[in-house]
């Protein structure tokens, strides 16, 4: 494939146009979705480590009856921080922030996200909210009312310290970040797909991110409303949840779970998307029943909004209402089942090659089915009323959230490692990691089903010896350390391979989606020539890919006149307009800094300073918008 002079000149011109400031400051002002993705990756993994240490301290405390490693005050903070960290600061930022950000523009053949500066703002707000939350822990005032923070326990009367304020304000800031990110994905997926990528040619991973983003946009307002009500009650004495003044504590629960159950699917849908990326690659077969799987991904997100009451079956609701929500909770099995059988049948009719990423997906399928089955049990009202708030539920949601949602993320880290770094990880160590983590997960979380069935409530910092919960807890604790060993091995593998791994080339696994059609790591503009797309497996369409160098030589869709990317119609993916994209900018990080500082002032009751920060934020927005890119 000889590269002609014209092609070389075009590539050099693109390099110049899309080049960002070098060095450390370049990371602060970047609007490149790939660099923002890497910022999300590093930050979310740091929070993962923190959440993991919190879990290990809890497991050590629970290793045997009447243990005194930590007291209840510390334990309650660890338990709350573990939940909040893993959900809001690890899984979602890793799946949406890193995988979504890094991969969606590449998979749809775009040069960036639709709103690159808002994308940067999302990241910096996420970092700000994380720092805010963890400064509570550093000051010894971490939230301690559990991740779902029920009132009246979380009210000023029963939680007089600032811990709950760190939780509420930190999560409000985090919600702004996630809402902006979700809106960005909706527009990116809707409008920036390469010409020719009609919806039925869009990779299933993008369907998953689309479904997730819809869920986020509709679910987060419920949480934010709830948190604002809580802060207004705590700071100014309003009565949203106060029975004596016409409020109701169940209002908190309803709003929380209207967000909280879609949240489960927000967590697990990107994992489905990763599974549908990895399976075709390693089975050399297109996903079976593509349209059904795409529809199922969207249906899961939709039905996920109609099941929240199953978190409240023990609160004394009318039985008719509970039966409705139980039925909805059962119906969601159907789109999940369709996907499970589609993954399995793709593997049965394909020719699977069990390398590390696929092993993690096999693990994922097993955990998802297992955790899904215990989930169905929790829709059975009387059984739920018996085991809710016991370790059975802890076991169930760790199979789903850790086993089913995080396993594909781990597999995905291996799978896209060569794309992001340009180097290969060590396959043998990767497979060893899988077995350690797979076994560790079962040893840690399986016994919790049993301790739950034996009557052990969740969120207890200690338990007496005579109830028979000792062996299960001891095994769980051993498993947790075993699991950690596997994760440390993975970290070592990936960090060493980042510097010493053999060069990977553009497509080491023979992947089907467009990210594999460009170099590893991709250039800042992703594709020198906007790729032609005629199926959801664009990189496997060899005829199309062979024309790319010629089109580059001819200058057909190179868009070298500036920071440009094609805008297409939402359904058919017809060419619509050439969009001018903004360049790197110092304003997103500045705005996030001001917003975080303003939130911290609210927390510290310096309301005048908070108002000053709001005014400053408005000024920053003016400066931000004074530098709009010229329309092409």
């Amino acid at each position: 494939m000889a590269v002609g002079t014209a092609a070389r000149e075009r590539v050099e011109r693109l390099d110049r146009i899309w080049q960002e400031r070098p060095g450390f400051t370049g990371w602060l002002t970047t609007t490149d979705h790939k660099r923002i993705g890497i910022l999300y990756l590093v930050t979310s993994l740091a929070f993962f480590a923190a959440g993991g240490v919190e879990a290990l301290v809890m497991r050590t405390q629970l290793a045997q009856a009447d243990e005194r490693v930590v007291g209840p005050g510390t334990y309650d903070q660890l338990m709350t921080m573990h939940g909040v960290t893993m959900i809001f600061f690890f899984v979602i930022p890793l799946s949406i922030g890193f995988f979504g950000n890094y991969l969606v523009p590449l998979m749809i053949g775009a040069r960036d996200m639709a709103f690159p500066r808002m994308n940067a703002l999302s990241y910096w707000l996420y970092l700000g909210s994380g720092i805010l939350l963890y400064s509570g822990l550093a000051l010894g005032h971490a939230p301690d009312a559990g991740w779902f923070n029920y009132v009246p326990l979380a009210s000023r009367k029963f939680s007089p310290g600032t811990g709950v304020d760190f939780y509420a304000l930190g999560l409000i800031l985090n919600s702004v970040s996630s809402t902006a990110a979700a809106a960005n994905f909706l527009v990116t997926i809707g409008r920036l797909r390469a010409p020719g990528m009609s919806l039925n040619r869009m990779p299933l991973f993008c369907f998953a991110i689309l479904a997730t983003s819809f869920s986020l946009v509709f679910a987060l307002p419920a949480l934010t409303t709830d948190l604002v009500f809580l802060e207004l009650s705590r700071k100014f004495g309003l009565h949203f949840f106060d029975v004596g003044r016409g409020g109701n504590p169940l209002l908190w629960q309803d709003l929380f779970w209207i967000f909280g159950h879609p949240e489960v699917y927000i967590i697990v849908l990107p994992a489905f998307g990763i599974a549908t990326s990895i399976i075709p690659t390693f089975t050399r077969r297109r996903m079976a029943a593509f349209p059904l799987v795409a529809l199922a991904e969207l249906l899961v997100a939709f039905i996920g909004f109609g099941v929240w009451v199953h978190h409240m079956f023990a609160t004394g609701l009318p039985e008719i209402a509970m039966i409705f929500f139980a039925a909805a909770s059962l119906i969601i099995v159907i789109p999940s089942g369709i996907q499970i059988f589609a993954w399995c049948m793709t593997m049965v009719t394909g020719k699977p090659e069990y390398r590390t990423p696929l092993l993690f997906i096999v693990g994922f399928i097993l955990f998802f089915v297992f955790g899904g089955l215990s989930g169905i049990m929790l829709a059975a009202i009387p059984f739920d009323q018996q085991v809710t708030d016991t370790y059975f539920v802890v076991a169930h949601f760790h199979y789903v959230i850790w086993g089913a949602a995080v396993f594909p993320l781990l597999g995905g880290l291996f799978y896209w490692f060569p794309k992001v770094t340009g180097r290969m990880y060590d396959e043998r160590l990767g497979q060893t990691t899988f077995w350690l983590v797979f076994i560790g997960t079962n040893v840690t979380f399986f016994p919790m089903h049993i301790s739950g069935m034996l009557g052990m409530p969740r969120r207890v910092w200690t338990y007496p010896g005579h109830l028979g919960w000792g062996p299960e807890n001891f095994i769980s604790t051993l498993g947790a350390f075993f699991l950690t060993g596997g994760l440390v091995l993975m970290a070592v593998n990936l960090v060493v391979s980042r510097f010493r791994g053999p060069l990977a080339g553009p497509n080491p696994f023979g992947g089907a989606t467009l990210e594999w059609a460009t170099s590893s790591p991709p250039p800042s503009y992703n594709f020198a020539v906007i790729p032609k797309v005629s199926s959801p497996y664009a990189t496997w369409d060899e005829d199309d890919r062979e024309t790319d160098p010629q089109r580059l030589e001819r200058g057909d869709f190179v868009l070298e006149g500036g920071h440009l990317t094609p805008g297409t119609t939402p359904v058919d993916g017809h060419m619509d307009e050439i969009l001018a994209m903004p360049e790197e900018s110092p304003w997103p990080i500045t705005l996030a800094f001001v917003a975080t500082l303003g939130t911290a002032f609210i927390l510290a009751n310096h309301l005048i300073m908070a108002a000053a920060m709001a005014a400053l934020a408005a000024a920053v927005l003016v400066a931000w918008h004074s530098g709009e890119p010229e329309a092409a």
Binding site: G71, L292, G316, G337, M347, I376, T388
Partner: protein, 324 residues
Amino acid sequence: MVPLGLPVLLATGCNSNQAITNPATRPARDINTLWWAMFAGAMVVFAVVVALLVIAFVRRGRPGEPSHDDRGPYKVIIGGGLAAPIVVLAILFGFVIHVMPATSSPPGPTKLTVDVIGHQWFWEVRYPGTPAVTADEIHIPSGTAVDVRATTVDVIHSFWVPRLNRKIDMIPGQANRIELDAPDPGVYRGQCSEFCGVGHAQMAFYVIVQPPARFRAWLRVQSRPAATPTTTAGLLGRRTFLTVGCEDCHAIRGTSAAGRVGPDLTHLGSRRTLAALTIPNTPRMLYDWISNPQAIKPGARMPGFASLPAAQRHALVAYLEGLR
């Protein structure tokens, strides 16, 4: 396979006194049956998926390129992901509807009503129509449907005796009800199962099921005011109780002590445990509890009285243990 180990592992703890798998009443038994039925069904489904994954593994080395023909897979996907779940879920749904009435709140008042009121972190127990008030021990007659009205004075707690029935949350502003109808006398352990703050792990209670005659006798005793101490230590103990601050939080019927913050102590000597089942009710333990409750139940609302002369603390123990 790990899941198949479940029945074995469960069996080892099956007869523990808080196990769901050790039911003692009709609703708890129905739920247990529902559980084992769902467990069996779940294992079948799990086995199907495992079988597909095994088939994929075994066939991985067959010659030729994989086929992209979707007709065969569609049949399995529609059958396994749509048709089979509809049937299985309909059956499960029917089973759930069938079990629900047994676990529902009683439709109307039953022969005996007991009020259980959640506190951070103990259980106040009242018998409407009698002056009896106790804590952390709910005595009920066997073979009688008892209507438990579950409420709270502070945060949300959850009333749960797994061997007798499912749980019910205790929520401010609403009175949830649950029926306890135990055929056999015995002592059944329950525990708070909604996170309620630092004392959550140490907020347990007993339901003590007695033959009706013994229950009535017990209730008669509990309805009486506290006995007047007859020993010098007891008299000193009562004087101490009424002067050093105990009466601000605790009530002892028949004395001027009428606090409602801590448990009613009118018949403390008759109870099996202290501090919501945290420690057995013995003079030695009560002495330790009065001296330094935080060492026994961190976060407990009760202040320590270690500054009180030991003689007065011993007198308090003598007085309180005499309240039978």
